[in-house]
């Protein structure tokens, strides 16, 4: 059995771990930067709260103190430590961004694959609804929805997720339309699989590639949206430690020279959104 055919047909062997990491870095340089930034955020979100105090404790005598070795990011007008609040907020903002992306990706993919694989009236209705939803700018739609649902973190998450679901529906549907024509789908039909089994076990896993990269992008946009909504006073409310809320509160003090109250949380929002964007962009550039 050692014919050349057999040798050529052997399974590719996994390489050493270091070599793999290096080749990943080479292939996705931007995403690698994004991943490094993301890891800092993730570590902060997980372990940060262990090292800082109460984000709500005020100390009027220390109000609006500039950054120093005691208050790394200074204090706000109530004398709350901006660094403490920024670290505490990391958990909320990162989790909210990822959860929104996950909800939108899962709901959108499931709806998209059913629409794409089965077609027909359901597909028609879904497409028209996504048309309507996409006609609104996502931020404005989320704003309206939160206003209607009421201010709470779960409502913000649901509202922003709804605004982004159509993107996933369209991506996965388009891919499912192509995948359902492939031969393995016919082969699965012959093997006695039902239509739903084919839709979810065969077509769905093969239609998800564009959704993965989109999810990274959407997570970044979602962080911006949530912070933006909070900045406008909708959704997450003060005194919750959240970057958008902090920027909104600090914005009043910038005029008086206390730039640190708004700048640091603002920069944290930008860097996180940028990290998601870098990851998503680089993976998307690689193409499906």
């Amino acid at each position: 059995m050692s014919s050349p055919v057999v040798a050529a047909a052997s399974v590719s062997r996994p390489r050493g771990r270091n070599a793999q990491v290096l080749s990943l870095l080479r292939r996705y340089p931007m995403a690698s930067i994004g991943v490094v930034i993301m890891s800092v955020y993730a570590l902060t979100a997980i372990f940060g709260p262990l090292f800082v105090g109460d984000p709500l404790s005020t100390s009027p005598s220390d109000a609006l103190a500039p950054p120093s070795s005691e208050h790394y990011f200074g204090t706000d007008r109530f004398g709350r430590d901006v660094f403490t609040r920024a670290v505490i907020a990391a958990r909320l903002d990162v989790v909210v961004g990822i959860v929104i992306a996950l909800i939108a990706a899962i709901a959108g993919s499931l709806i998209g694959v059913v629409a794409g694989y089965f077609g027909g009236a359901f597909d028609e209705v879904v497409m028209r609804v996504t048309d309507v939803v996409l006609a609104f700018p996502g931020f404005v739609l989320a704003l309206i929805l939160v206003a209607a649902l009421g201010d709470s973190i779960p409502n913000v998450v649901i509202a922003v997720a709804i605004a982004y679901t159509p993107y996933f529906i369209r991506l996965v549907r388009a891919r499912a339309l192509a995948e359902r024509e492939r031969e393995y789908v016919d082969a699965a039909t012959l093997a006695g699989n039902g239509r739903w089994q084919i839709a979810f076990r065969h077509v769905l896993p093969n239609s998800l590639t564009p959704a993965y990269t989109q999810a990274a992008l959407v997570a970044g946009w979602a962080v911006l949206d949530v912070a933006g909504l909070a900045f406008l006073g909708i959704g997450i409310q003060p005194p919750t430690a959240e970057w958008g809320v902090m920027v909104a509160e600090g914005a009043n003090d910038v005029m008086t020279g206390a730039w640190w109250t708004a700048l640091f949380p603002g920069a944290l929002i930008v860097a996180l959104a940028l990290a998601f964007q870098l990851i998503g962009d680089d993976l998307q550039g690689e193409k499906r």
Binding site: A9, A187, L190, A191
Partner: protein, 324 residues
Amino acid sequence: MSLLDVRGLSVGIAGKEELLLRDVTLSLQPGEIQGVVGESGSGKTMASLALLGLLPPSVELRGGTAAIGGRTVLDASRRGVTRQVGDLTMVFQNPRGALNPTMKVGHQVRRVLTKVRGKSKGEATTETVALLRRVGIPGAERVAGSYPHQLSGGMCQRVVIAMALAYRPRVLIADEPTTGLDVTVQAQIFDLLRELVEETNCGVLFITHDLGAVAEMCDRVSVLYAGQLMETGTTIETFEQPRHPYTRFLLESLSPQESSRLTSTEEAGVDFSLPGCRFAHRCAHAFERCSDFPQLFQAGPQHLYSCFLGEEEDDVAAQRSQLA
């Protein structure tokens, strides 16, 4: 009684007159490998998709019946006739396309065993490895845990054949199973198909345009052109005494000395809505009767052809013998 019996199968594009398959008749005996040959676009694949009930939505069944072991599996006049799982399966042209890229190949074989043959998970896992070994895959356990993109084309085709073995169909349609594989692998795949037939006594429709492969593999051969069955008979009879001008052309095109080059169907173009013989406009022997659709004429116990010319020739021969 034949294992597979297809009568008058006609298939057309929805909303149009043209027939992509016109009145195609096939029969297949248990344990027989029958070649189905023809150029690209001659309807070979369309015929198999029709049998499998996998016609694309833009194509519709216009007429005909098909029965497997005497039980009707397809009837154009009655919708909803269903085949039983296990009757019929297909080895697809493109092995990579026929495997789900996101599922380990072992799992795909195992699913056939559990779904079609009703095996338990444990049995199926053992048998999967045994099947993969059967089709000549070295390191079957390891390969079972691989994804299709990690395997070569030849390996993928073996996996697909293993799935067909797992299926144990009564009729297997092999649609150009060796296209894109090198000759050594091709020979191994042929051997596997033969073994499958010997072991399960199933019938195989072997779709190809490789006449060499037909001569090597097939007991009988059916020649299709532009959706019309031109000639069918035992491989020896058909190749040595072709009765249809198209079959002769096809065979002549193999010999290098042949000067009269046959233009390809794409160059010549085929009008699928014409009522007469589909080959008439390219046939050197065409005469007035060819504007009618020729039914099948008998040239031997198993040898049928679709051409008026043979009848004329027979008449001429009969006259000659009378004169003599």
